[in-house]
């Protein structure tokens, strides 16, 4: 390998009170990659992303980003370092307008020109948001909210984007669209860590993948190989 990974989780443990949600996770994401993290409900996928973003604190183990230890960095500063998250269930600010949601994505930034540029780019990428720019986000459809959540994360200008089940509850056509947008974003230089229930799609777009089961990584490797793995096929690809 030689080059240090962009993101490196080492023996990461996370507890929710008495619940031991992550039991010593090791995971790396290299610069420019798309890495998928798949697993059943309750496996700890969202917890992994929450720990990286600093929303929940690790009980032991370490997280480093660009070689810097970020295990104890508060969530609002993690964003400033270049890690954006599109959380599970979108979590758009339903009481705010589409524009205000996007502006909040740029909350940490001061470069007015760059913000304007990125806003235009996001609206170009998601014309449907452009049409609904003044509308309150709560009135958007599920798919539009997902676009808004992705757009909002893009507005932070991340180096690494964490996506938590972006295809959840979307019609097949929209799922395809979202995945191709994720690939586009990656090609433009943003590294991606993707959590998905839709293992088939997740393994298609990723270069590498990890399989999480009740808080432990049970498999990892190139996504193409995992897609051929008998256990993975049985458990996550419907036989």
């Amino acid at each position: 390998m030689g080059v240090a990974p962009l993101l490196d989780l080492e023996d990461l443990n996370v507890h929710y009170g008495a619940i031991w949600a992550l039991k010593g996770i090791n995971l790396t994401v290299g610069e420019g990659e798309i890495v998928s993290l798949i697993g059943a409900n309750g496996a700890g996928k969202s917890t992994t992303l929450r720990a990286i973003s600093g929303v929940i604190k690790a009980s032991s183990g370490g997280i480093s980003f660009q070689g810097e230890d970020i295990t104890k960095v508060p969530a609002h500063d993690v964003v400033k370092m270049g890690i954006a998250q599109v959380p599970e269930g979108r979590r758009v600010f339903a009481n705010l307008s589409v524009l205000e949601n996007l502006e909040l994505g740029a909350y940490i930034r001061k470069d007015t020109k760059g913000i304007k540029q990125d806003l235009d780019d996001v609206l170009d990428r998601f014309p449907r948001l452009q049409e609904r720019i003044g509308q309150v986000a709560g009135t958007l459809s599920g798919g539009e909210q997902q676009m808004l959540a992705i757009g909002r994360a893009l507005m932070t200008r991340p180096k690494l984007m964490l996506l938590d089940e972006p295809s959840m509850g979307l019609a097949p056509l929209l799922v395809k669209e979202i995945f191709s947008i994720i690939e586009e974003i990656n090609q433009e230089g943003t590294t991606i860590l993707l959590v998905e229930q839709n293992a088939r799609m997740a393994l298609q777009v990723a270069s590498r993948a990890y399989v999480l089961e009740t808080g432990r990584i049970v498999l990892d490797g190139p996504a193409k190989e995992l897609a051929q793995n008998e256990d993975v096929k049985k458990a996550y690809l419907g036989g």
Partner: protein
């Protein structure tokens, strides 16, 4: 008819004081889902600070500003010391802590300044009255209405036009998602206490000028403003203003036409009725959109 107008005017003036207090309740509730029971006592502290300043010869506006700044800082300190650590534990713990702060403020004031009822010096506002079509308007009314109007406009500007205001709205909707935008939730909560408590101080000064100043003075207006906030839909700033004005007017009408004995009872009856008929209040959200 003139009588009615007169009562409505009195109610408007009283109601705008409630409104100033209620916005603080509602903003703080909106952002951390805590009924800040100490809010009424912040009013009292504000009134004393303003009174002290007035007695030292400061005019209305400097006294007002001094009281607002002092209480804004007091609000931040209260949040930091008494709420921040207990908030994540449980709501009941935070509520209990709030009641503790309330009693602490009341009895600290009583200890140091005694329970005497004090009044603002008359020269802070030499009484003048105007007659408008038979309705008597005092300069006190104008002062209360004017101050409230200015403060409410500033508040609206902060909430809807500034970056921090946007952060406040984001945090009150979804704190965790706000963190993911790089918003410092603790700072935003502290800022909300800062603003809410400054508003309370202004209300305290106005209340003190209209009535008097004593250590337990915050209790009744605090409770009434709480009712106003629930009436308008707790968490909603326009709701709190509307609730305050409506409550003030209702009270004033009841006092004039039903007897002042019933005035306070009516406020509480309104609260119970609202909770029965429309639990989310007049401008409240149908469902709490908390995740």
């Amino acid at each position: 008819m003139q009588d009615l107008l007169q009562q409505l005017l009195n109610g408007l003036s009283q109601g705008s004081i409630y409104a100033l207090i209620a916005v603080g309740y509602t903003m703080i509730y909106g952002i951390i889902q805590l009924i800040n029971f100490a809010h009424g006592d912040v009013i009292m502290v504000g009134a004393y600070v303003a009174l002290g300043a007035a007695l030292m010869g400061f005019g209305f506006i400097p006294s007002l500003i001094l009281a607002m700044i002092t209480c804004a800082i007091l609000g931040v300190v209260i949040e930091r010391v008494a709420y921040r650590k207990v908030r994540p534990v449980s709501r009941l713990a935070a509520l209990t802590s709030a009641i503790g702060v309330s009693l602490f403020l009341q009895y600290t004031m009583m200890y140091f300044l005694g329970a005497d009822i004090r009044s603002f010096p008359a020269d802070i506002l030499p009484e003048r009255t105007y007659t408008l079509g038979g309705v008597i308007v005092t300069n006190k009314d104008l002062l209360v209405l004017g101050t409230t109007l200015v403060l409410v406009i500033i508040l609206q500007f902060i909430i809807f036009r500034t970056r921090t205001g946007k952060a406040m709205r984001a945090v009150s909707f979804d704190g965790q998602a706000a963190q993911l935008m790089g918003i410092n939730v603790n700072y935003t909560v502290a800022f909300t206490f800062f603003i809410g408590s400054a508003m309370a101080a202004a209300a305290g000064m106005l209340y003190g000028i209209c009535f008097n100043v004593q250590p337990l003075m915050g209790l009744m207006p605090g409770l009434k403003a709480f009712i106003a906030a629930v009436l308008g839909g707790i968490g909603s700033v326009p709701g709190a203003m509307l609730g305050g004005i409506l409550l003030g007017m209702t009270e004033s009408l009841v006092a004039a036409f039903g007897g002042s004995m019933y005035r306070d009872a009516v406020a509480f009856i309104i609260l119970i009725l609202i909770l029965l008929i429309r639990p989310t209040g007049l401008l409240g959200k149908g469902v709490q959109e908390k995740v």
